[in-house]
């Protein structure tokens, strides 16, 4: 029996007897354990498989087990509808010493962002004479994922995401207003449950706005995927690790411009368009929420200050 990397299916070799289901289930159990971190499999395998929405299908003389991400009633693994987002929660002012800071939650994904600056450039050789230097550092807390792994600071994944966030934020900051200075953005993932880069961008936007850094528009981000022939908004970890396409979009909400678009799989063009449209709708919802939070915060600061 082999694990097919491209999808979410298990395929039997010719050697195996397709009817020996027990053997299949045993292998599947191991794979599940490794793949989805399900540590406690105590019940009878069959019921367990049912519980996490697997179903079997006989396909071309081999038994294929396909994970069901949207059940016939139209609900996803965590009980959402395909076009439903996770709960958003944002708080401004989480880091005391930063110029601006925010905590942003999308469901179980939780990210903290801190902005320092605009301040004097630390490395003089990097100074730009007509605009501000934007730097970004992304990191994941060791306790953020299910398995506690010791990640070194500059690994490939975090370098890539740092770069992505930096480019996205740089597109909206009016850097020419702050020449010869530097803006540092630090984002750290506290809980990872899929869509960390979207959450990071949203948190960074809030923190930048809190720091009083002039911006063209609010950048917001949201991801969408395509599983079981359905477009799904705001993927969680289970859906993210299914191996299907995952489209992350960053949008300037008011200008209606896309500043970030990432996808790590193949998708037919017409499907892609609908998935991307879904992600953009998600971004707009996030923008609406972020705007509310910022407005509330500004009002509070103003009335407390008094006349």
């Amino acid at each position: 029996m082999t694990w097919r990397h491209d999808g979410h299916a298990f395929k039997l070799n010719e050697k195996h007897n397709p009817l020996n289901l027990l053997e299949v289930y045993a292998t599947l159990q191991e794979v599940l354990k490794a793949r989805f971190l399900i540590s406690q499999i105590t019940l009878e395998i069959k019921t367990h498989l049912k519980a996490i929405n697997y179903w079997t299908k006989l396909y071309k003389n081999s038994l294929v087990l396909i994970m069901e991400f949207v059940n016939p009633e139209g609900f996803r693994l965590d009980g959402r509808r395909p076009m439903e987002m996770r709960r958003l929660q944002a708080e401004i002012g989480a880091v005391a010493n930063a110029d601006g800071s925010a905590v942003f939650e999308m469901g179980n994904t939780k990210v903290v962002a801190a902005v320092y600056g605009p301040r004097e450039v630390q490395n003089r050789s990097q100074q730009i004479s007509d605009q501000a230097l934007v730097r970004c550092e992304y990191s994941m807390a060791n306790f953020s994922t299910g398995d506690r792994t010791r990640k070194q600071k500059g690994d490939r994944r975090s370098t890539e995401i740092s770069l992505v966030i930096r480019q996205t934020m740089e597109a909206c900051i009016l850097t020419h207003l702050m020449p010869r200075s530097q803006i540092d953005i630090f984002v750290q993932v506290l809980q990872a449950d899929g869509g960390t880069r979207s959450a990071c961008i949203n948190a960074a936007t809030l923190a930048l706005a809190d720091a009083g850094i002039p911006m063209r528009d609010l950048v917001t981000s949201c991801s969408a995927g395509y599983l079981n022939s359905t477009a799904l908004l705001d993927l969680n970890y289970m859906e993210d690790s299914a191996g299907g396409p995952d489209v992350t979009v960053g949008v300037l909400a008011k200008l209606d411009k896309v500043t970030l678009l990432q996808m790590d799989a193949k998708l037919p063009v017409d499907t892609f368009e609908s998935v991307m449209q879904l992600a953009i709708e998600g971004c707009k919802a996030v923008a609406h929420y972020i705007r509310e939070v910022l407005l509330q915060n500004t009002k509070q600061l103003e009335y407390r200050r008094g006349v």
């Binding site: 005391a96 110029d99 004097e120 702050m178 200075s181």
Partner: protein, 326 residues
């Protein structure tokens, strides 16, 4: 709530909430000013013509905010006054800064601006008080005036054509600050006033409310107007008497009495409490908070109960102010 990690009990929570609610009602009575966030459209009448100020940009013929803040209108000018942002210098502002670096003929000061400010040796009064050209020897002995990490009070002189910010300290009231505490508060809490130096005579304490949000609380020192003469007399003295005695005297002069130290801490904590609550730091409010705190210990000023009381007092104060106006 920012920086405010108070362990409020249920009653305190309710009291603080009502106090803040009342503040909100009061301010909405006075000005229902338009608060905007990034990318909000600012309504303007185009017939009168518009001058776009800070924090605004144009998009498809609309005026759009680029900051979170309050829209201010002065005749044709429309701008957004940001709240939580770094300090934006204006000529003549009194600021407090910390020396970051000593460069040829200049000090670089951290003043909560987007770049370091520059204090030229030539825009400083020399310690001997004589007006003369700065020589190479003066330049070499710059560290005897300010060292790295010294806290300095100065005035904004202006922007140089290359965009750097220059300071000056051409008066006896400016210069190095010693024997006290430096507090960093958000700059929007300090209002531009005629007087930023305050001598609290009852406590023998100097309070400097820097426009850049750096607040200095320290022991009172008289501006030394005749340094030169003092120096002369000292040299004569040390010539006649034992130099050890002079040293001892100097040490005694450097000693801050315990009482003054306690007052410094008390005032500093009062400022901290006010800034945590987000109230404007005017000298009247600081003094009244200070008086209210006299009955409790210094450490309790940052506690939950006192913060709630301060908020309630602020409500009363603002209420009486609005009554006076009517």
């Amino acid at each position: 709530m920012r920086e405010l990690n108070l362990s409020l009990n249920q009653t305190q929570k309710v009291r603080l909430q009502t106090a803040l609610q009342e503040l909100q009602d009061l301010s909405s009575k006075v000005n229902s000013s338009a608060t905007v966030t990034v990318a909000d459209t600012i309504t303007v009448s185009h017939e009168d013509g518009v001058l776009k100020g800070h924090g605004t940009s144009e998009l498809n013929g609309e005026v759009v905010a680029t900051l979170c803040g309050v829209v201010e209108r002065v005749n044709k000018l429309v701008y957004v006054r940001a709240l939580r942002a770094r300090y934006k210098p204006e000529v003549g502002d009194i600021i407090v800064g910390r020396v970051n670096e000593i460069a040829p003929k200049r000090w670089r000061l951290e003043i909560n601006f987007s770049q370091d400010a520059v204090l030229m040796l030539s825009s400083m009064n020399l310690p001997d008080g004589i007006q003369r050209r700065r020589t190479a020897i003066d330049e070499l002995s710059m560290r005897s005036i300010f060292e790295e990490n010294d806290v300095v009070c100065a005035e904004v002189r202006g922007f140089q054509h290359d965009g750097s910010l220059h300071l000056q300290a051409r008066s006896q009231k400016y210069g190095k600050l010693e024997r006290g505490q430096l507090l960093r508060v958000p700059p929007y809490l300090v209002k531009r006033r005629k007087q930023h130096f305050h001598h609290l005579e009852n406590y023998n304490v100097d309070l400097i409310l820097g426009m850049n949000g750096f607040v200095w609380v320290g022991e009172h020192t008289e501006p030394r107007e005749n340094d030169l003469m003092e120096d002369d007399s000292k040299t004569i003295e040390s010539g006649t008497t034992n130099s050890k005695v002079a040293n001892l005297e100097e040490h005694e002069g450097a000693f801050t009495p315990l009482e003054t130290r306690q007052y410094i801490c008390r005032i500093a904590n009062a400022v901290r409490a006010l800034s945590v609550l987000g109230f404007t730091l005017s000298i009247e409010v600081i003094l009244s908070t200070l008086e209210a705190s006299m009955s409790i210990e210094i450490k309790d000023i940052l506690g939950a109960e006192f913060c709630v009381q301060t908020a309630e007092k602020e409500v009363l104060r603002r209420k009486s102010l609005t009554k006076k106006k009517h």
